[in-house]
């Protein structure tokens, strides 16, 4: 039997039971590879459950620096009998299966085209430990130790990581290292180490990886840091997967940075609201009063916040919302990823509403775009929605380091202070388009004893904020809001356009977490002689360059992670290009991040190249 051979280029998947402590051991495994300087991208594929159901951790090692999902599994670490049948079927021929050999393999599912590595994890733990929790936890540490030998992981890095993880709980360090060593020794004495697939430090890495001193970080933490750096002082939220860690991380950093050491008083306020409606109401109230406030949620929360988003759009109140998307509709698959809130977010609320959206693709962008969102929300006096997703928000990504320019100053937008009002001779008109950009001036409550007070409402009003049902005045206001949206085009993050090596009329268009597998598919196709220009969208409203790009190409593949091709529809709706025939949807909506192989194969089939051997063999061929 052929065994898979590869250095620094493989996919390993861990099949665990939720709540058994596998997450920290698996995280340590991925981090060790990262520390060895080898490009790695780990992903949690977890159930909506706290304890007992199957959970997976997929780690891709890519010497070419591809961070998206590739597709296919080269090695399975199987410690969950519940999912054994499915897990074993996913391994590619010639791949490896590490399993707990305390009990014999379930022969009904055994295949002959893969290589087995049995380690009696349960037995070793029963022998070594008396405490039942330890017996469970150390199984994970033992297999990481074994993988260290099997895959050539630098053992000293693992020891360092254990030391860092248990800093302050020193008595846990020795038993953890002992467990790692047990696994290591078992592997060395029972298997030929390293395996055909293994790691090697010091290998060449591609330029885009070499360029930065990368960090390993999740997008939610990065967005939270963005809120800290943007000077957010109020966070109101309602717990919902996969966004919860945004506010958790915000609180963690605020505790460190925003408590006055003298008085113990806080320069921030975090309120766990009774629901998402209330969370958004608080954000709007705080922003109305001049504090930078934000919330984080996911699809169901966006639905609940819609009414308030419409109010903020119409009453012109800034707000920042981090939408960490998951699979919908309704409760959908709460722990699986999608990019399926695009239309719901772009048009959230009744009546003619449109919202500014940002599409970060990396943790570094989650950080920088969150900082930018607070500026733009205040500049435009409207909500900004940061469209992250579960894959980006909750998984650790290799990312360029976070950067902040100390000379940068917040843009608080058009706000008249008490002094401004004092010096003003003309009458203050809250909704008066003084500068011709559709953006009026605002005042904070309490700014001046006699000037600048106005009535904020969701009902129609004139330029001086007085209630009116005069249709002409209403239309004037609605048109000004549209003009403001036009102004937004000059302020939002621009799209990233990359021309192909050879002139082409074909293009790929994508955004957010679809970017990594799309760039990878692009390189694969390039090697096959298929050339495509690319455009990575970073915001809505669409800028002129997006329209030009669509105009200039005959065929544009729009890659996104939802069923209905929502971004394609938004492009058709919101650009002035006749594009219905040329925009081709490439979608994935099974809740897992789209793979490079899938993108490449769909594009190949559109190109009429059908005689390509599929990279992923069909399931029935796998099971012997």
């Amino acid at each position: 039997m052929q065994r898979k051979q590869s250095i620094n280029d493989f996919v390993i998947k861990f099949a665990n039971v939720n709540g058994t402590g596998s997450a920290s051991a698996n995280g340590m495994f991925a981090k060790a590879i990262f520390r060895m300087g080898i490009p790695v991208s780990p992903r949690n594929i977890f159930p909506s459950n706290i304890q007992g159901l199957p959970t997976w951790y997929e780690v891709r090692v890519s010497r070419d620096g591809y961070l998206g999902r590739r597709g296919g599994i080269d090695m399975m670490v199987s410690v969950n009998p519940q999912s054994f049948a499915k897990d074993i079927s996913e391994v590619e021929p010639g791949g490896y299966m590490l399993y707990d050999s305390t009990k014999p393999l379930d022969l009904r599912h055994v295949r002959r085209d893969i290589h087995y590595l049995g380690i009696p994890l349960t037995e070793m733990c029963l022998r070594e430990y008396t405490d039942s929790r330890q017996r469970q936890l150390f199984k994970n540490v033992i297999y990481v130790g074994a993988l260290s030998a099997l895959l050539n992981i630098d053992f000293s890095i693992l020891k360092d990581l254990v030391g860092e993880q248990f800093k302050g709980k020193e008595k846990l360090i020795t038993p953890n290292i002992h467990a790692l060593e047990m696994g290591y020794q078992f592997a060395i004495s029972h298997f030929e180490c390293p395996l055909g697939i293994h790691l090697k430090a010091g290998e060449q890495v591609p330029q885009h990886i070499k360029e930065f001193d990368h960090i390993l970080m999740d997008g939610n933490t990065a967005a939270a840091l963005g809120a800290v750096y943007a000077g957010a002082t109020v966070a109101a939220w309602y717990p919902i997967t996969p966004s919860t860690s945004v506010v958790d991380a915000f609180e963690k950093y605020c505790r460190r940075l925003r408590i006055d050491p003298g008085t113990g008083k806080k320069n921030y306020a975090i309120v766990q609201a009774e629901d998402e409606l209330s969370a958004m109401g608080m954000v709007i109230g705080a922003n109305w009063s001049g504090a930078r406030a934000f919330t984080a949620t996911s699809g169901p929360g966006v639905s609940l916040m819609s009414e308030f988003l419409g109010l903020a759009y119409f009453a012109e109140v800034p707000a920042v919302l981090v939408d960490v998307q998951r699979a919908g509709p309704s409760t959908g698959m709460p722990t699986r990823t999608q990019q399926s809130d695009i239309l719901a977010a772009a048009y959230a609320s009744h009546g003619d509403t449109k919202h500014v959206l940002f599409f970060p693709a990396t943790p570094a962008e989650c950080f920088s775009m969150t900082v930018e969102a607070f500026d733009l929300a205040e500049r435009l006096q409207t909500p900004i929605i940061i469209m992250s997703d579960l894959d980006l928000g909750m998984n650790e990504w290799m990312s360029p380091p976070l950067e902040f320019d100390d000379s940068y100053r917040y843009d608080r937008g058009k706000v008249l202070s008490g002094e401004d009002l004092e010096a003003m001779t003309e009458r203050f008109g809250r909704y008066l388009d003084v500068d011709g950009d559709g953006i009026p001036y605002r005042t904070y409550p309490g700014a001046h004893p006699t000037k600048g007070a106005y009535f904020t409402r969701g009902s129609s009003r004139d330029e001086y904020a007085a209630y009116t049902e005069d249709g002409d005045v209403y239309v004037r206001n609605m048109d000004r809001l549209l003009k403001k949206f036009e102004t937004a085009k000059s302020l939002v993050p621009e799209a990233k356009i990359k021309p192909a090596a050879e002139p082409t009329q074909d293009a790929l268009l994508f955004f957010g977490t679809t970017a990594s597998p799309a760039y990878e598919a692009l390189e694969t196709l390039e090697k096959e002689g298929i050339h495509l220009d690319t455009l990575r969208l970073r915001s809505f409203p669409f800028t002129q360059e997006v329209e030009d790009f669509i105009e200039e190409h005959d065929r544009i593949f729009v890659i996104e992670q939802n069923r209905d091709g929502q971004m394609r529809r938004l492009l058709l709706n919101e650009t002035n290009v006749e594009a219905n025939a040329k925009l081709i949807s490439v979608v994935e909506y099974n809740g897992l991040p789209v793979t490079a192989r899938k993108i490449a194969s769909v594009i190949r089939s559109h190109m009429g190249i059908n005689n390509v051997t599929p990279l992923v063999p069909k399931e029935k061929e796998l099971v012997s």
């Binding site: 109020v234 109101a236 209330s278 705080a286 109305w288 409550p445 309490g446 007070a453």
Partner: protein
Amino acid sequence: MTYAKPAFRHPDAKTNEVGCTRRDYEGGLSTLCAGCGHDSISAAIIDACYELSIEPHRVAKLSGIGCSSKTPAYFLSGSHSFNSVHGRMPSVATGANLANRDLIYIGVSGDGDTASIGMGQFAHVMRRNLNMTYIVENNGCYGLTKGQDSATMDTESVSKKGDINPYMPIDLVRVGIEIGATFVGRSFSGDKAQLVPLIKAAISHRGFALLDVISPCVTFNNHQGSTKSYASFRDHRDAMPVDFIPRREAITTSYDAGVVHEACMHDGSVLRLQKVNEEYNIEDPQSALEAIAHHAKEDRILTGLLYIKRDSEELHDVLQTAAKPLNTMTQRELCPGSRFLDSINAGLR
């Protein structure tokens, strides 16, 4: 309906401590029906703010949706105001208050806005003891949509169409006391003598002050058979007179009979009221609930200050927010700068 407001100002109009006349606390002309109880409440708010010598711009007015929620346009035109979303005023008030703890927050809501669509936010804003005055202009019906029963409508009260309400009413003061409001009063739009001092006391209270003010709907709910009509309410009401004596002012009012209770507020002002009986301790929630229930059983409605907890932790105390309003914090105070980010990056390698 009056459609123009006279510009005339009396040259000798009295001014208060901050140099404002009563006119400075007025707002735009009301567009509510002539005789609406809500307009009397607006007038009472104007009196209360004038008498307390509050600078109008130090007040933020908030409301939801409905007849009641329109009224912030009819008082204190020198204050910022936010007429928000139906039933969601408490969250907007919470956000505004978190941003700037130095302003006085007056929320106006109705029985539909509070007891139906907004019941969740109403409950939670009380639970958090947000420092604000929350006035419910309670008329038992939905006026703007032409008179449907609301959740505060009494069982067997007859609607204008003749339908008998089969449902249990939600008694907002009882809900308030149960859930954690630290100042709970009930009054009547037609009793200025009780309402004005109650509003003054509510504004001076540190924490969440709930005022359930029965305010008859002259158009849809003022007929015979309705329990929220002027006539019915006057007949079934037991009033506990209230006096509010601002800080440094001599106490001059005296009651002839009954049990007088005096309470010193956190700012040094004094609240003086006449209770219905000796046993009723307005600082004990159980005693207050019993008194309310006892009156209800006798088909009487108890009004006045029903419950007060003078020393409580309002939301900012719980959150330990800085004394300086969050909306005045500068980038210097809030942004950690690139050096800290370098240490974050280092920790992620």
